[in-house]
Symmetry: C2
Subunit: 148 residues, 2 copies
């Protein structure tokens, strides 16, 4: 569905939401180890997220990446847009440029409600909401370092 890049980015974003704030930053190395993602690749992704102002960063000793309160209000959708772009969720499932509700492709009515609903959730739910939900539900999360 999503690219590896985007999966890593979302996982990193959730990880940062749980483990960091202005006073507590974490370096790529630790994050990559905890999330079991390739270090250098994740570094690039975090740079991209940072340059797009989705996450915050600080250089030098005691520096690292973190989410401030504004960052934590970001939607998952912002991350997807930043890394993968919108095409994957907004475009036609069969890649037909002219496909839409009035002029549907053969699988449009199968796939369309799904895409709309996910899109809504991904747009409406902030990273913060997500983390809160996760904690409330008390479910075990398969994200290394966040087994609650």
């Amino acid at each position: 569905m999503l690219s590896n890049a985007c999966k890593y980015a979302i996982r990193a974003m959730i990880y940062l939401a749980i483990h960091t704030d202005e006073t507590k930053k974490i370096g790529v190395k630790i994050i990559a180890e905890d999330l079991e993602t390739p270090y250098a690749f994740l570094a690039k992704l975090l740079q991209k997220l940072a340059s797009d102002k989705l996450i915050s960063s600080a250089k030098g000793p005691r520096g690292g990446f973190y989410l401030n309160d504004t960052d934590k209000k970001r939607a998952i959708w912002d991350v997807v847009k930043c890394i993968d772009g919108t095409e994957k969720f907004e475009g036609c499932f069969l890649g037909l440029s002219k496909c839409n509700d009035i002029n549907p492709c053969p699988v449009h009515h199968i796939v369309s409600p799904f895409k709309k609903s996910i899109l809504k959730d991904f747009r409406d739910k902030s990273i913060h909401d997500l983390v809160r939900e996760i904690k409330e539900n008390g479910t075990v999360i398969s994200l290394k370092g966040f087994d609650i």
Copy 2:
């Protein structure tokens, strides 16, 4: 969502369901032109579908690709399996190997119901069903050569 390869393959499959049978075969060249897909690439895909017995083919003059009645009963899911594999729809949205209903990833409960529902539709609906539905609904299909 799907790879280009898989999109082309599904479109070709529907195209063949509409335009061919044992007595009427169509060559890759025409199909590629009609579907506006790259000729040689589509040829490879059709070969793959044929070798996996999802579609039928005949060599030589008046040969080409076609769907017999058995072929037309194939599900969209068979095509996806053949070209893209199952991982994309069966695996975790965030790529976590341990994610499942009991041990869900942070977006599992957002994504899971839809994956299940799409999967069911794709498994249950044959290409033939799809074509019938399309004809019944009388909707215009953005698939060149099948604007009804």
